[in-house]
Symmetry: C3
Subunit: 130 residues, 3 copies
């Protein structure tokens, strides 16, 4: 299963929990992997609170600074976007019970754009417990 | 399957390998996902050596500094705990053979509290290979 | 399934996509977890471009500095290698369709050595969708 996400800024954090949930069969119990097939976007899980989303963007800019002398920038001027995506990772795997993601009260699945705005694809792959 | 972990400090690294192992059926082969349903705690895998656990805490404080002007702190004074959890991630997936985690000699599954002390829940979800 | 990777430098990024693919049965659809059973190596997914691989190494040295007063260094002089591995994580889980990894155009599975050169093992564990 896959869906598209349109991002609207160079760094953009998008809550994709509802789109992931919509792919899960009603009776399914097991886990599901949420995966971005891109090298300048990542997936994480945290709270969808607007201040925190701004803090995530700022953290990515602090930990991986713009304007460094990156080798990859000689080929394509987006090394920092790749490195920020590596910090976050490309995948999360979440337990699922009877078709519902077993997320905590404050958890949302977040796709983090690091080189936008663009259209991105997200894959969702269930895995059964037996 | 789920279990509780009581943490004892603001930042605290707890070895949960034995609790995870105890949830696995004897004959099970496949993988298992270990997941924290919280936004200010994370899961990682590394060596349970007391000096290293202190270094992990210090790394989290270095990479995500306290006392910054975080937006989320206007709502709840724990933005740094959320950001530290994002660096670590909420889940790990580990291969399992005949009911045993296929961890390396020095590997332990570590739950990292970033906003304690508290009681935390950990979920363990097996996935079968076929 | 498992294979070995020989690394050639203290920090070394090795593309293991082909070795992972070779372990997958032709008809398999589901996901596969790629796992390093080591505490001073990690797994990530990104582009295999030589400049970017150099940038990844440099990022690891920047975010986790050498020469700090790490507690673990009193026991074994490789605390920074452990901490860099924690930043990357020990596992990735990738969707698989008909025996092929559902990676994006620019994605490769990368094993990151943080305390080499050494021989490392990598485990690949499939999980079925039903």
């Amino acid at each position: 299963m896959a869906f598209e996400v349109a991002t609207t800024a160079a760094i953009d954090v998008v809550d994709i929990t509802d789109q992931v949930s919509a792919t899960l069969p009603d009776e399914f119990t097991g886990s599901c992997t949420v995966f971005v097939p891109h090298t300048t976007a990542g997936i994480t899980i945290n709270e969808n609170e607007s201040g925190l989303l701004a803090d995530i963007e700022e953290m990515l800019r602090t930990v991986v600074a713009d304007g460094e002398d990156y080798e990859h920038d000689r080929i394509d001027d987006n090394a920092s976007a790749h490195l920020r995506s590596i910090l976050l990772g490309s995948d999360v795997t979440v337990p699922v019970t009877n078709g519902s993601l077993a997320l905590g009260t404050w958890q949302s699945i977040l796709m983090v754009e690091a080189d936008g705005p663009r259209k991105r694809r997200v894959l969702v792959q269930p895995a059964s417990s037996g």
